[in-house]
Each structure stands twice: as C-alpha cells, then as structure tokens.
C-alpha cells in the first residue's frame, strides 16, 4: 500500500461493493447473509467495503421503520462483529446505509466505520438530507432529514457519504468536493422504471442514474463508489447496478441491475490528481463559488431575522 507524500493517505484502495438483496424486515437474517459474504471476502480482504442504503432491512418499510431502526452504535457493532467473526486480521473500512434511531428521532443514514481486530471506530454518520416524498416515495412521512453534509478523514483521504437522492442534487457532490472530499460513497436504493426508451437496452431510470453519477465524478474529479440495493419490494424492483466511477467519469466496473453480487476493484487514488490537473473545474469553482453564493439575489438566509423566517 503506497502512501501519498503530501497527505499520508494510502494511494491505492481495494474496494468491494456488496450489492445485496435483503429480505424485507428480517434484520438478523440479512445480517447473517452479510456475515457470510464477509467470510468470502476475508480470504482476500479488501480495504473498503460498501453496502447499499437500508442494506439490512429493505428500503420500503413505511411504519415498520420504527421496528427496525438501530442506533448508529448498535449498527456499527453488528457490522464490526460480522467482520471480526470471519477471523480476518486486516483492518477494513465499512460503509453502509441503515435506518437510524437516535433516541426516538429516525433518519435514513449511512455510516463509515474503521474495523480492526482491536475494535471499531465510527468515523462518520451521514443523515440523508434529501428525503424523496413524492410518487412512490414517502420518506419524510416517517423520517427526519439530516441537516449537514460532512466530509471526513479516512486512511484513503477525505470522503463524503451521499445517500441516493442526495446525489441527484448537483450541489451536494459540489459542496462535498469543495469541502475536500476526494471520494464519494453513495449507498442507494433505486426502484427501477421506464420501459419505453429504445436508446439503451435498460430501464430509463438506470440511464439517468449513470449520467448523474458520471457527471458528478467528472465535474469534481472524484472517485464515486455507488452501492445499489437489488431485488423486488412489493412489485418495485431495485435496480442494483452498483458501480465504481473514476475521476474522469468513466465506469471502472459495474454490476447488473438484478441479483446480489460483489463488485471489486483496486483503484489508484492518484488518478484524482491527474484528472483534476487535466480538467481543473474544481479549482475554478473554488475561485468563483464565493461570488455565486454572495449574490444578493440568491434566496439564502443572511440575517438572524431571515434565518427565523426560513
């Protein structure tokens, strides 16, 4: 593992994305399933394991979210225990989506953990900020929204977690990148739709997703790790298609929409610097962003009174 001379972060990262198909509501069975896959990975341990949104519960829970939500510490302990039971001695980082119960306030969250034989540490918990509540989606009926997009340090450099619709708002990858993120980890649960288009031999929603993710990665010169839930939930098919996208927006590896699998790639994080040197959009944005945000015509709160009104 080579280290970056400036940041001390590892330059290479062996990423494993677990595209899982949970059984609705059966947390313990789904955890046992993940433990089994961890066992498969332990023979050749990766550096980072990423799981989808709501990975151990299923996504569409309605009121059952209150039955299945866990505290961040309990969820972290479950994942760490699952890894350590494999007997692997290597340290591993794990990111996963889960429904969080924070003393009776519920969130659609994602956690980033460092796990080793000595124990585990919660590096960051991101609470989904954009809760889809339209059409088939009803998240904000049951959940509270997160209020902050954090960028956190890992041994592979600064990262940010964005959950599903978070990444549809282009300002989210933008803010994450401006705050220093070099990798975006995106746990997701995306119900597929759209069978009319003949341009690509796939659901239309998948084409839109790929375009969004590719644009987010290439505009900011970041690696993007997308973990998609798979399997049907009451007629709504989750589109999997987990992928790793490089800082030029190219897909390094991609899973099919249907069926659980492990997606694996060894990436060179040095690609980020090369990509940014060739297309310095992030540097340009850093210079222009203050002008954009300080524009008086933007409907942003500026004084205490305005904050209260918003």
């Amino acid at each position: 593992m080579s280290a970056d001379r400036q940041t001390g972060a590892s330059r290479r990262c062996d990423v494993a994305i677990l595209q899982v198909k949970p059984r609705k509501g059966d947390y313990q069975r789904n955890l046992a399933g993940v433990r089994e896959v961890f066992g498969q990975l332990a023979a050749d341990p990766p550096d980072l394991i990423v799981l989808p949104e709501a990975a151990l519960s299923g996504y569409f829970l309605e009121g059952a979210v209150y039955d299945l939500a866990r505290s961040a510490s309990a969820f972290a302990a479950d994942l760490a225990d699952a890894w350590n039971k494999t007997g692997a001695t290597n340290a591993v980082d794990i990111a996963s989506g889960f429904y969080e119960n924070d003393s009776g306030t519920y969130y659609n969250s994602a956690i980033y953990l460092e796990v080793s034989a000595r124990g585990h540490k919660i590096v960051h918990v991101h609470r989904k900020m954009f809760l889809p509540t339209y059409g088939v989606f009803d998240e904000e009926r049951f959940l509270s929204r997160g209020r902050k997009l954090g960028v956190f340090k890992t041994r592979f450099g600064p990262m940010a977690l964005l959950i599903c619709e978070d990444v549809w708002h282009s300002i989210m990858p933008t803010i994450a990148a401006i705050k220093g993120a070099r990798c975006l980890v995106v746990p997701s649960a995306a119900p597929g739709r759209g069978v009319e288009a003949h341009d690509n031999d796939e659901l239309e929603s998948l084409t839109v997703w790929r375009s969004l993710l590719s644009n987010a990665a290439s505009e900011h010169g970041v690696f993007l790790f997308y973990a998609g839930l798979t399997g049907f939930e009451g007629g709504k098919g989750m589109t999997g298609s987990s992928c790793i996208i490089d800082p030029r927006g190219k897909i390094v590896v991609q899973a099919p929409p249907l069926g659980p699998c492990i997606l694996r790639a060894k990436i060179d994080l040095g690609e980020i610097d090369v990509a940014r040197a060739g297309l310095p959009l992030l540097g340009d944005l850093s210079a222009a962003l203050p002008d954009l945000l300080l524009d008086d015509e933007l409907p942003l709160p500026r004084r205490t009174l305005d904050v209260a009104r918003h």
Partner: protein, 283 residues
C-alpha cells in the same frame, strides 16, 4: 434561408411504446421474486381466456417458472365464443402448459336461475367472479399462486369486475397499457390469431372492448399516458386529441378511482389499518 428544425410531436409519438426485451426481463425477475423467493411457491395458475392479456401472462410465467410449473385454466360459459377456447388452446400447445377446462355454466346458472331479470352486466359480473372463485380454489389445490392478467388501460378505465379480474395477488401487466401488451405479445411470439383479433371480455355475444369503451385502445392509451403525466384537457387538445375523446377517457378514470382501492373502512382510531398502521405488503 436556413432550415428550421423543431420538435413536432404528433399523436403517434405520444402513444406509449415499449422496449419489449427490457420489460420481459424485468417481469420475469418480478415473477420469480414474488412467487419463488418471497412466497416459496413454484407454480402459477393463469386463467386463459383466449385473449392477449392472459396469453402474455402465461408466456411470462412460463419463462419465469418453466412451462411445467404453469397451470392454464380455461373457464368457458355456455355462451362463450368457441374461438376463445381454441385460442387458449393455441397458447397451451405452444408452451406445453398443464391445462384444465372448467365449464362454469352450471355454477353461474345455479345462481342466476333465481335472478332471471339479471341484465348482461350483472350476468357478466357473476361470470367474472365465478372464474376468480375457480382460480383461487385451483391454486389452493395445486399449491400455486393465481397470477393476474389485467392491464393498465382497463384498470384506469375501470373496465373490469371489482374483486374478480383484479383479485390475484400478483400482476405482471398492471403497469402496461394495452398497446404495450400487444407489443410484448409480438415479441414473445404469442400466436397471431390472438394478437390480431379484436379484444373482447366475451361476457356477451359479439362484445368487443373497443365497442364497449367507445374508443380504440390506441387512442385511449395515447390520451391516458399523457393524462397521467399531469397534462390538463386544454394541453391534451393542443396535442391533437378531440374534446369528446378526452372527456370520455377522463370521465371513466375519474369515476372509477374506487375500483383501484381496497374497500373504504370507517376510521375510528389512531391505529386504523392502512391509515395509521402502515406496513408494506412484503413485510
């Protein structure tokens, strides 16, 4: 003079299309998940009417479960068109399905003899509900799941018998317009006589769907697909549809919302089922 290039959508372009290979793959996976993985049921029961919807459903079930795991049930009434039985048999033979013919005439007439004044609509509803009774009973006997055949067009227009055609617990075609089902039929190789004939509920002699509805499926689907996206009547008229056909379609949709829901239950508590107590169907 430079040529001016601009979009000119006509009604044909507004009609729903379908990428059949994508849809078929998705629906196969849906059936496998719903029957085998979620319910641990290997077999499906499909009521084969001789029409295109049930034929496509049978083809999808055969692909998802294997033809030997699909039971085709033909349920003629004494006034049913002989073509219906013949066309259903074409599907059975083409796929190699297990099949059974249950004549519902005696069961239907057993009740209707006490209701001699029943008009065609009532008689048709009794037949449709009797067929569903047979399908559910056969599914219990065969350790199979009844698979529904209703399409999105008839669901939206309310052109079905409540708690009959719509009652099977899974339905692969319910989000596809009739014209899309025809496309799937062609892709799947459903026998030509079934794809080409005028669709009919075959509840009365010489009945056709389009005659009952007063509009062709092609026009209805084009209007419905735009209407569901949120376009109002004026916007639909701008797209080239006639006021009468817009009114016909909208009035059918808006008068049949109740048919697309479970029965209305009086709410008396903070734990009313499906109002406060909310759990997904697969929980």
């Amino acid at each position: 003079m430079l040529p001016v290039i601009e979009p000119r959508p006509g009604i044909d372009e507004l009609a729903p299309t379908i990428n059949a290979s994508v849809a078929v793959s998705w629906l196969e996976a849906f059936l496998q998940d719903e029957l085998i993985e979620r319910r641990a049921i290997e077999h499906a029961v499909v009521g084969l009417s001789g029409g295109v919807d049930s034929a496509v459903t049978a083809y999808l079930c055969a692909r998802a479960l294997g033809p030997h795991n699909v039971y085709a049930i033909r349920m003629p009434y004494r006034t049913s068109s002989p073509d219906s039985l013949t066309h259903a048999q074409l599907v059975i033979d083409a796929l190699g399905l297990k099949s059974r013919t249950v004549d519902i005439s005696d069961a239907v007439d057993g009740y209707l003899q006490f209701e001699p004044e029943a008009d065609g609509r009532r008689r048709g509803n009794v037949m449709a509900r009797m067929r569903m009774l047979v399908l559910f009973d056969q599914s219990t006997k065969l350790h199979a799941l009844p698979v529904g055949t209703g399409n999105k067009t008839e669901r939206l227009l309310g052109y079905f018998t409540w708690h009959a055609d719509d009652s099977p617990p899974v339905n692969p075609l319910g989000d596809l317009f009739k014209t899309q089902v025809w496309e799937l039929a062609r892709y799947l190789g459903v026998p030509q006589p079934i794809v080409q004939k005028a669709p009919s509920a075959d509840l009365e002699a010489n009945q056709t769907d389009e005659g009952d509805l007063g509009i062709t499926y092609a026009r209805a689907d084009a209007i419905l697909s735009q209407m569901l996206l949120g376009y109002n009547d004026a916007q639909l008229a701008e797209r080239g549809f006639g006021d009468d056909e817009i009114e016909l379609v909208r009035s059918r949709v808006e008068s049949t919302h109740w048919k697309r829901h479970l029965p209305t239950t009086a709410m008396l508590s903070n734990t009313a089922i499906n109002e406060f107590y909310l759990r997904p169907v697969d929980y």
